[in-house]
Symmetry: C2
Subunit: 158 residues, 2 copies
DNA sequence: TCTGAAAGTTTTCATCC
DNA sequence: GGATGAAAACTTTCAGA
């Protein structure tokens, strides 16, 4: 969990891994100019430090025809510490919550739900938001087209 | 690209792969009750059909201290087909755009930006939205805490 | 479509630079 | 830190059911 200083090779590798984590160590090494074992040592550092948390398969939502994505914009009544904890825990536990951000600005939370059918969507939104007395109001924006659904973050300014 | 019918084992495997794509075929096979080669054949089907688009390394934004996430809510002036195409292309080309959804409801687009520092954030938002005469208005919600940042979708109702 | 074994690669590790 | 090469593990293929 240490602070981990990154050199150019690290930035390069992290960029490549965020695009495609299925490449071999040799393949990555050839692109950045390192041996497979040197690449492995670096990748291990990312993992043990917590920077690289896990690797996942990304499904194309367009191929899962019944899947409904929706963005919920949530406003909290009064953000007491206890309620905040409970609300956040509920967001973390629900498998339908794909992303959840605590934000500043016109709303307090942005929550992306991935459900199977609009009925299911409604059910979950009710459970998470409507039944919570500390949720002042929430709006649902149904996703018509998921143009882009990545999770890559920059590790330095481009 | 065919429609691909999924049985219980497929749903199970896709669920596991979306959580952790670094598990071995043997490991996955033991959990679902198949041999490694049987698992491989199924995973290949997901890939060739386009359902499984790629696998990526997920970085923890909390470990990239300068990274700023922001949710932009965008309202379009008048959605002419030509402008829509241009606007969407810009969203697809900018590396700072992590996610972009076309939505129905109070806004037209929801765009998540991942940038390095607030200055960079502002710069990108200006370029993508402020300079576009067809963008009526946009609001930026800065992410205070990325509670959850996955990309898993359900392949069937839980 | 599955299993199980053989063949081909990749990952891992010890060692030296 | 990095390179190399050998051992271990994994992936991939294929024959047989």
């Amino acid at each position: 969990m240490a602070a981990l200083t990154l050199d150019d090779l690290d930035h390069h590798l992290l960029d490549l891994l965020q695009r495609d984590a299925s490449r071999t160590l040799r393949d990555l090494g050839e692109e950045v100019g390192l041996s497979p074992s040197a690449v492995l040592r670096r990748v291990r550092r990312y993992r043990t430090s917590g920077l690289l948390s896990h690797t996942v398969a990304v499904l194309d939502p367009r191929h899962a025809p019944e899947v409904v994505l929706a963005v919920c914009l949530v406003t909290i009544q009064e953000d007491s510490p206890e309620h905040g904890r409970l609300f956040r825990r509920r967001l973390l536990e629900a498998p339908e919550v794909q992303q959840a951000y605590e934000v500043s600005g016109d709303y307090d939370y942005v929550v992306v739900l991935a459900t199977v059918g609009t009925g299911h969507q409604n059910e979950i939104a009710k459970r998470l938001f409507q039944q919570d007395p500390n949720v002042k109001r929430y709006t649902t924006l149904f996703v018509l087209d998921p143009l882009r659904t990545g999770s890559a973050i920059p590790t330095r300014r481009p």
